[in-house]
Symmetry: C2
Subunit: 148 residues, 2 copies
């Protein structure tokens, strides 16, 4: 199996943990030479914090091992928002692998493309659409469940 699909599958497991808590189901894993150095799932509601996105949780964990420049590949089930995309640039993530698109808040091309601003001292390679159907379906199921 495609290595990226394998790790995106683990990010989907993280997203399932969010769904189980009634949170928007987004998950993230960070991989450095086949070692997982960070995991995170969205916990904005339960932590009651706008900072508690999957990518921030995962980068926080990875920074404890690798310091503030983590490099590595970050897998996330949904295209990052501006905050998370900014954190990805600040942490000097080498490569970003995205599952589903985020047409409302996506900052890796959907609404704005921060990855393309070379002014920000670092650029990140982006691959999109890995397990896109599964990642998107998890979001659709969640939002459908909110409707009366």
């Amino acid at each position: 199996m495609d290595r990226d699909a394998y790790y995106m599958g683990l990010a989907l497991e993280e997203a399932r943990a969010s769904a189980a808590m009634g949170e928007v189901p987004i998950g993230c894993v960070i991989v450095d030479e086949d070692e997982i150095i960070g995991r995170g799932h969205n916990q904005s509601e339960s932590m009651d914090s706008a900072l508690a996105h999957a990518e921030i949780m995962a980068i926080d964990e990875a920074s404890k091992k690798k310091g503030r420049r983590i490099g590595s590949t970050l897998y996330v089930t949904v295209e990052p928002c501006p905050m998370c995309m900014g954190a990805i640039l600040n942490a000097r993530v080498d490569r970003l692998v995205i599952g589903a698109e985020n047409p409302r808040f996506g900052a890796a091309g959907s609404v704005v493309n921060l990855a393309a601003f070379r002014a920000f001292n670092h650029s990140v390679d982006v691959r999109r659409g890995v397990l896109e159907e599964e990642c998107g379906e998890m979001m659709r199921t969640f939002f459908k469940s909110l409707r009366p």
Copy 2:
């Protein structure tokens, strides 16, 4: 004295705490109806984390009091980077007051203007140039001190 200048002075005190630690001197305070609900100073080096910017530290503290939508006015001595500007939008900060410009990484207009993307569900009122000279001078002094 101008109320904004008063609170920017407190943000400058936070920036001084960063400078004393050998960190890039950026400070932040968050004010909700004349009550300070968050303070932060850049600690990227000492915490060895790309997330440890002044605004993130202050929003984290404010969220513990007000939850994930903090509203309020956020004072920061230097224009926010994309990560912090994204966090400001996610946390639904009502008003952003900036000291010095950040021509390299500024995401409130200097390199990109995330505040202007109405697509991001929330817009924030921005005032610039409050104690600009003092805020900028602190940065210049710091970077000068790094040169041999």
